[in-house]
């Protein structure tokens, strides 16, 4: 049975700088990964810093699991070092004068409460056991960031804040760290706020999404529902798409294919290494979905799903529209031309077939 997750964090902040204002009011759940998502300059890092208490000139209110960390009206401000948080900065921020082991110990030995996350566990989770004796300048960028994450975890934080931990890394290093972040997602029972401007990272790691633009919260909600919404600002619709969580159902060894099942259908993808029964997330971009009135025959596209039109909305260009469909409980978004919309007579309630040209597997 799934429990309702009550909001454990209530945050309300105003930060006013010349040319930029952050003004947010939001509730975050007590567990799972919340992506603070938006373009650069949208205020996502500032919001994260407010949660950590690193923005002293923020005005507002912050309530964390029954404790008040900030209440500007009553002059309450819990300094950062008294908040049970872990913070991972965008660039590697290890203390250069301390070895990896001493970096890990720095925060851990200053925490006196019972260690929920043991050092060994953090070291094992991030795969850095072989690096303990090294100095930070002898580590690669990816290794440094893994140590920084382990260092934050080793303090047994009750709230983990991560500011684009992968942004400063190249694709190879990103792919080196992402599996560790996914393990964190699966194993940690604390809320995580993860700042990102990469839709793929968000799709891979997040449970909830807070979409920010120009210092304001535009949309907040579950990952799948939020990405399936059509009313997001134009900037996001050029990359519109949905995330589907599926289970590895079958392998076809002759053709080197794998079938992934999800509520409402299945897709066939190139052979995956995962064993049957494993969960996998994949992303379907709206531009990779086309619509037909009947089940297409004689096509090379093998992923066809029956779906019902739910909603039609403007896309990023006047020539296109976004169509949201329901495939047996799974939302799908298609980006088609306005001419096709009229030719096919696409209206809400109409049953159609969605042809999926490509899926992007996440992890």
């Amino acid at each position: 049975m799934e429990m309702m997750v009550l909001p454990a964090i209530h945050a309300q902040f105003q930060v006013i700088w010349p040319g930029f204002t952050l003004d947010v009011d939001l509730d975050l759940p007590g567990r799972g990964v919340t992506a603070l998502f938006g373009h650069s300059g949208s205020g996502k890092t500032t919001l994260l810093r407010c949660l950590a208490g690193l923005e002293r000139n923020s005005n507002g209110f912050l309530h964390f699991k029954g404790e008040i960390w900030q209440d500007s009206e009553r002059g309450v401000f819990l300094p950062t070092y008294q908040r049970p948080i872990g913070y991972v900065f965008q660039e590697a921020s290890l203390f250069p004068h301390l070895s990896v082991r001493k970096n890990l110990d720095y925060g851990r030995k200053r925490v006196n409460s019972g260690h929920k996350v043991s050092l060994d566990h953090a070291v094992e989770l991030l795969g850095i056991g072989h690096l303990l004796g090294r100095m930070p300048d002898r580590l690669s960028g990816g290794e440094r960031q893994r140590v920084a994450i382990a260092r934050a975890l080793a303090t047994s934080p009750e709230l983990l804040l991560m500011d684009e931990p992968l942004a400063a890394l190249d694709l190879k290093r990103k792919n080196e760290i992402l599996p560790y972040l996914e393990r964190l997602h699966d194993e940690l029972e604390i809320p995580v706020c993860y700042v990102s401007h990469s839709p793929d990272e968000v799709a891979r790691l997040a449970d909830q999404v807070v979409l920010l633009a120009e210092g304001r919260v535009i949309v907040t909600g579950g990952l799948r529902e939020t990405l399936a919404r059509l009313d997001l600002p134009t900037a996001f619709t050029e990359d519109a798409g949905v995330v589907i969580e599926a289970v590895v159902a079958d392998h076809d060894e002759a053709y080197h294919l794998t079938r992934l099942d999800f509520p409402g259908g299945s897709v066939v993808v190139a052979r995956r290494p995962e064993t049957i029964g494993r969960r996998l997330r994949f992303r379907v971009h709206a531009r990779d979905v086309s619509l037909t009135l009947t089940r297409a025959e004689g096509t090379s596209i093998s992923n066809l799903l029956p779906a019902t039109v739910m909603e039609v909305a403007d896309a990023d260009t006047p020539a296109h529209v976004l169509v949201r469909l329901d495939a047996g409980g799974t939302p799908i978004i298609a980006r088609i031309t306005r001419r096709s919309l009229d030719h096919l007579g696409v209206t809400p309630g109409k049953p159609m077939w969605a042809q999926i040209k490509a899926v992007a597997l996440l992890g």
Binding site: A52, G53, L54, P79, T80, Y81, Q82, I85, G86, Y87, F89, S93, F95, P96, H97, Y106, G107, R110, V111, R151, A152, T155
Partner: protein
Amino acid sequence: MFGEFHPALGNADWAAVWLTFRLASVVTVILMFVGTPIAWWLARTRSKWKGVVGAVVALPLVLPPTVLGFYLLVAMGPYGPVGQFTQWLGIGLLPFTFPGLVVASVFYSLPFVVQPVQNAFEAIGPRPLEVAATLRASPWDTFFTVVLPLAKPGFITAAILGFAHTVGEFGVVLMIGGNIPEKTRVVSVAIYDHVEALEYTEAHILAGGMLLFSFLVLLGLYSRKAATSWK
């Protein structure tokens, strides 16, 4: 007693060398304690007074030592505020004493300590302090476990410059300390005396010693910088 090794230098000269060393050591230690908080404040503050304080600290770099010495002499004299205060404390007047020389030298060498330490603090930037705070370190804890170790090269530079600059002072010493053997007669003043008395051999030995000392100090300083910048 040192005269046996260097027949050309009398006991008075060795006393001057020893006094110079003592003065520079005491001044350097005091400067590290006085200069560090000033440097920290200058590196971190956004106050409008930053420029004023920075300029006051830097004044000895450009003022003739006699100007600084003159004002200090007046302030520490019997009718000056510092003089009144020291008399009230019962320790008498500072001019023409070793403590007076120490006080004057602290002012005189202050920028040579504050500026390298301030540069080191500024180079650290706010990020390591924020990282330490997220790892539960209080501001004092952060200062001792993160800031001091990271600023160590700046402190070493500051101590070397503060020491060497105090050894090399002349004008302020003459104004405040005069020329009292074993109390205020430092090497630079002793050289002046020898030259006045046409004792060129002694002057050569002391001046050559100062030249060698200063060169070695700066050599050490600059080769250390080259070595660390390669790291």
